[in-house]
Symmetry: C2
Subunit: 421 residues, 2 copies
Amino acid sequence: MIFGRGVARVTRSLWWRRRRQLQSRPGCCESGRLLCFDVDGNSYLPARAVLGFREFSSWGLLSQLIVARRIHHQSSSLMEDHLDPFSLVADELSIIGNRLRAMVIAEVPKLASAAEYFFKLGVEGKRFRPTVLLLMASALNVPEASHRSLGDTLSTELRTRQQSVAEITEMIHVASLLHDDVLDDAQTRRGIGSLNFIMGNKLAVLAGDFLLSRACVALAALKNTEVVSLIATVVEHLVTGETMQMTTSSDQRYSLEYYMQKTFYKTASLISNSCKSVALLAGQTTEVASLAYDYGKNLGLAFQVIDDVLDFTGTSASLGKGSLSDIRHGIITAPILFAMEEYPQLRKVVDRGFEDPANVELALEYLGKSRGLQKAKELAKKHADLAAEAIDSLPESNDEDVIRSRRALIDLTRIVITRTK
Amino acid sequence: MIFGRGVARVTRSLWWRRRRQLQSRPGCCESGRLLCFDVDGNSYLPARAVLGFREFSSWGLLSQLIVARRIHHQSSSLMEDHLDPFSLVADELSIIGNRLRAMVIAEVPKLASAAEYFFKLGVEGKRFRPTVLLLMASALNVPEASHRSLGDTLSTELRTRQQSVAEITEMIHVASLLHDDVLDDAQTRRGIGSLNFIMGNKLAVLAGDFLLSRACVALAALKNTEVVSLIATVVEHLVTGETMQMTTSSDQRYSLEYYMQKTFYKTASLISNSCKSVALLAGQTTEVASLAYDYGKNLGLAFQVIDDVLDFTGTSASLGKGSLSDIRHGIITAPILFAMEEYPQLRKVVDRGFEDPANVELALEYLGKSRGLQKAKELAKKHADLAAEAIDSLPESNDEDVIRSRRALIDLTRIVITRTK
């Protein structure tokens, strides 16, 4: 497969210049040690340059930078504006959302209320993964194919199959949320009552099983044994991640490597393996499929580490304003792990457990005077950079759609680490 | 594929003569209307002859008829004795059981207690499905293949893949039991505390998810898209069956067709589709695969209808001695449905629900004076016969192992309807 290199090189060169300008702003850079762990638990060397992650401090600020346009209805220069990654695939997201909702409501009326719940989930919960996958599908598009005889038909068929991967991924994701709610006895998720609290465990388990079974059927329909194998492994990883989280061995609980491995299983495996699946369905090379996987893995890790930071800070970016759900469930995440490195005496606090709210307060005190939150953000930043680098390493293309989608994927790496909800 | 017909014809002829002798015993036959429903809800014509189902009144009596022998270590006539279907595949069952147990304990130590639970399940729960599948694999064996060059290797590989289907089936079955326990808030299953009661919903959901995910991975490893599709559909059917059971529409609750459809989804789909998978892996024709499916479907339906009878009678075969779990959960099964045909006033009793124990007593009174239990047994018997007929319709074979396995499959159809636990 041959990618044209002319326009792409110019475009990406301008893009990189813009990134460097942003990085060189005073106050944007953070110094200090930056740890980064592979899912195998190997730590990397400190990052070559620590990029600022405060440029886009919220979805609100980001939206001011965005000129949201429907890409198929405009042909202006690609170099002028940031495009909202979500708006690039809005039509398809809407189709996928409607298809999922209609399927649940029509086929299992008993689960209609569950379907409503699925689509009341927050923006990230609802659209993040399909957005990434549709953009990845476009980013790996081989436009030459569409000029061949029957190319359009093949191209449409491929897109349908890639949309199916996006649907399967969303179904597995929501299924895992539903079962996690039962596991955690969660009473709320993203501000609305969790399904198992409102409807009982019965419906939550059943709705999760239903989505999982539909995902299996849709997966089988792809008739691609490698993709089936990848996604089946994801389901296994989700369970493994959950059981790792239940561990009571303190050596493991206090290990950053263990935390990152668990985070990979619980969050990053799904998006990395589905990105790879999208590439495989497109007939891409092993190298390209591997880059798609790397993007998904690192984006997923960055996403989750920031989620763990937000559990402490919430929308206010101030410590203690989050839901503190993790620590109250005794789940130790990156901020506390980094704080523990600075203040080993925090370990004793954690050992006592967090059933006593006073102990939670004490842990937050240590966290507040440590660089725990900061280092966790740096860790997320490092993985976001690795994700962006995977996209930059793709074979060049001069196709506008491809370039636009790749830029959107890189934008997502910023959005993920600068979001405040 | 060519099956020798000589020995087989003689053997089966004797077998059929023996069956007819049993059928002609005075007192064994039951007259009266016999309803039989397809999963599509079509009723059949009354059975040509209603066979007695009291010949083997218990596992104990059956065992007296059985000369349990290790078949690979003997060569005496096949025509003399009944063989215990379970003992025919005991070695393989043991391998499969150990493999499943070791997998759970070794890979997810947190689920070790769950693994213990899996293997404390009763005989049917533990070994019934793998037994059927291993016997089906032998019953569809093409012995000629083993004489070809490399035939043994191919044959071993095929058997390993068929064992894998048995493992996958058992994993899906146990996963559905675990999740059903959560759904039903079951406190006991087969006399031992249910896992969700002992360990909480968390472990039960997770253990079920774990088994389901391992089943998906094992399924993907078979690299057969048709088999993947069949088994994926089973998982969907299990959920559909469960939601059908939750229905509150009385038209549906009081319909025998609806009950049979639900029973297919909840019980028979797994065994029918896995029987078909075993046939497909062996490279059998569509016709043979379809007969394997028919056997599994009808055996599964017979099995479940008897289960529903036993819920009323228990081991004593007397009304009211069962756990009465279904009726107490408001689940209406075949015996009550048949009783309702005789006593339409029973419908009002059922409409009132069964939270009041007096209402349960009243329903049992109606059931006792009706032919409900009897008709339910006849329904099971009809499906057991259809299962046996599917085996009899297979292309003939003169291979001893094949003949023995087919006979064992037919024996199972008797065992299923005569068991008392």
